[in-house]
Symmetry: C2
Subunit: 322 residues, 2 copies
C-alpha cells in the first residue's frame, strides 16, 4: 500500500520511524511539510529521511523539493492513503480540513490524528468519504493509543451504545491525581506539570476542558449519530477545584476526575467524583473510557492518550485496517 | 447471512434472543440440540422458538425434528456460519472439536464460545480454517464480553505484543475481592458465592486456576504463535490464600488477584499482588487484561467475562465480523 504523509511534526516523524523500524508493508511515497515535500514514487528511503531530519525541519533535508507541497501531492493521487497530521486547530480546522476534503474528493482514503477537522466538520467529511466510496479514519483523535472508536466499530459489533463516560485528557488527570495524593493546590501542580512538559505553557486548552470537549463532540457524532458541535458541550474545567475538595473526596473513597459524559441527550465535560475501585478511576496521565452497551453490558478501556509513538501507533493501526 | 447454531444451552438461547430482539440482519436456518434440531431454510421463526422452549429443552419444542442432528446439519451446508456453543470440555474437547473440524473441512465459517477445542487443538483448527479459506473465530472464549483477541487483531494492528497479564476468572476475583473487603476466609466466601450462583457446586475448575489456565493457553497461541497446551501452564490456584495475607496486602495498598501471565517464555496462573491504583486492579466479578505492546505501550480492557447475554454478545460480534 502506498501512503503519503502530510505534516512532518512529532506524530509524522513517529509514523515514519515506526514504519521504518517495524519494516511494515507500507510504501511511503510522499512526505510534505508546510511549503515543501519529499517524493519518490518507488518509496522514500526512510532511513535517510529520519537521519537527515533528526535535528532540523523537513525543509533542511537535502532531498526536499520546493516545487511540491501538500495540495500538489494530494492532486497527484500518488498514494492509496493520505495521512493528515497537521497541528490541531479547533477554531476553523485549517489547514487539515481543506487537505482532508481534497483527499476524499479525489477518491483517496484519509487517516488523521487531527481533532480540528473531525470536530468541526464531522458529518460533512463522513458524507464526502461515503459519496466517494473511500475510508476516513481518525482513531488517534480520541484517546490516542487507546482504541475507542474502532473498539465499538469493530469489537463491539452489533452492540447499541447507551452511554459513554471517560477520562480523555492526560494533563488534567495528572494534575488531579497529584492534588489527591499530595494535597497540593492546583496552581502549584500545574507549574510543576509545565516544567515536566506534561502541561503546555498555555494550559487553558487542557485545564478549561476544551480538549476533552472536542473528544466529546467526536464521540457524540460517532456513537450517537448526532450533529454535535463544540458549542453544544456543557463544559466546566478543573481550575477552581480546591485541594480541600480533593482531599475530602479521597478520604471517602473517591477521586475527582475530569469526566466526559456523552449520551443521546447528554454532552458534558465536568469534574466528577469517581469511586476509587471503579475501572474508570485511573491515575496519572492515563486515559480511560467506560462504554455502556446493550450486549456486553460495560466495557472499559485504559491506555495512553498522548505521546509520539502512542499516537503514531493509532494512526498506523488505521492505515493497516484499510 | 445464514447461520446455524449448534448447542441450545444458556449461550445458544442468548444468541437467539439477541438476534430476535435486536432484529439483526442474520437468518437463523438451524438450531441443533443433542439428538434433534429445528430447521427452516427460509429462516426459523425465532419468536416461536423462544416462547416454545422457555421452560423446556429444544427436544420438547413442537417444531423439532428427530431426523436431523448437528452432524447432519453441518453436512447440509445450509449456513454460511456455524455457531458451535456446546459445553466446554477441556479433557478431549468433545463434542465441539469434532463439530468444528467438520464445519471447517466443509468450507464453512465457524464461531465458538467453547474453550475446549480451542485450547486443545488451536493450531490444528487454525490450519484447517486457513486451508479451507474460512474464518474460525472464538472471541467469547477469552474474557467473555470483553474484547481481547479481536482487540489485538483489529484495534492494535501493527503492534507487536510483548506480554499479557490479566484477571480472566470472575469467580475467583469475586472471592478475593470479598476476602479483601471483609477479612473473611476463603471457604466462607466460597460457600456464599456458591449460594449466589457465582461459583459452581464443584468449584475446582475456577478456584484451582484451570479455567484461567485454559485462557492463558489460548492467549499464548494467539498472540505469541506458540504451540502451548494445558500441561505447559504453571498453575497455582487461590485455595490456600489466607485472610491474613489478603489483609496485609490491602493495608499496604495492594490487592491479591489471580493473575494470568503470558509472554514468549512465560505461561503462568498464580495469585499476585497488584497495586490498588493499577488499571488491572478491578473488583468483583469483573475481568481485566493488560496488554503491553510496542506502539500503544499498554492497553487495559475491563469487562464482564461471563453471563448469558455478555457471552452471546461476543459470539454475535464474531458472527457480524464475517
Amino acid at each position: 500500500m502506498k501512503i503519503c504523509i502530510i505534516g512532518y511534526g512529532t506524530v509524522g516523524r513517529g509514523v515514519v520511524e515506526l514504519i521504518h523500524k517495524k519494516k511494515l508493508d507500507v510504501t511511503v511515497v510522499g512526505v510534505c511539510g508546510r511549503n515543501c515535500g519529499v517524493y519518490d514514487e518507488e518509496g522514500i528511503d526512510l532511513g535517510s529521511l529520519i537521519d537527515g531530519t533528526k535535528d532540523v525541519g523537513l525543509d533542511k533535508y537535502p532531498g526536499v523539493r520546493r516545487d511540491i507541497d501538500a495540495n500538489k501531492m494530494i492532486d497527484m493521487k500518488c498514494a492509496d492513503v493520505y495521512v493528515e497530521l497537521t497541528p490541531t486547530n479547533v477554531v476553523d480546522g485549517e489547514p487539515g480540513y481543506s487537505f482532508i476534503r481534497r483527499i476524499l474528493a479525489n477518491g483517496c482514503h484519509a487517516v488523521t490524528s487531527n481533532k480540528g477537522p473531525v470536530v468541526l466538520y464531522y458529518n460533512e467529511l463522513r458524507k464526502l468519504a461515503s459519496a466517494n466510496n473511500v475510508k476516513f479514519l481518525y482513531e488517534a483523535t480520541v484517546g490516542g493509543a487507546m482504541p475507542v472508536l474502532n473498539l465499538v466499530r469493530e469489537n463491539l459489533r452489533g452492540n447499541r451504545v447507551a452511554s459513554v463516560r471517560g477520562i480523555l485528557n492526560g494533563t488534567t488527570n495528572y494534575i488531579l491525581t497529584r492534588m489527591g495524593s499530595e494535597g497540593a493546590g492546583f496552581s502549584q501542580i500545574l507549574k510543576e506539570a509545565q516544567e515536566l512538559g506534561i502541561a503546555e505553557k498555555d494550559p487553558s486548552y487542557d485545564v478549561d476542558g476544551v480538549d476533552a470537549a472536542a473528544k466529546a463532540v467526536i464521540i457524540a457524532n460517532e456513537f450517537f449519530s448526532r450533529d454535535a458541535h463544540m458549542e453544544d458541550v456543557d463544559v466546566c474545567g478543573i481550575t477552581r477545584i480546591t485541594p480541600e475538595f480533593v482531599s475530602l473526596a479521597w478520604k471517602n473513597g473517591f477521586s475527582v476526575k475530569l469526566i466526559v459524559e456523552v449520551g443521546r441527550d447528554v454532552l458534558r465535560v465536568a469534574p466528577r467524583l469517581i469511586e476509587r475501585n471503579h475501572p474508570l478511576c485511573v491515575d496519572g496521565v492515563l486515559n480511560a473510557v467506560n462504554i455502556t452497551v446493550d450486549m456486553a453490558r460495560e466495557v472499559t478501556v485504559v491506555g495512553y492518550g498522548a505521546g509520539k509513538y502512542e499516537t503514531a501507533g493509532a494512526v498506523i493501526s488505521d492505515i493497516l485496517s484499510i
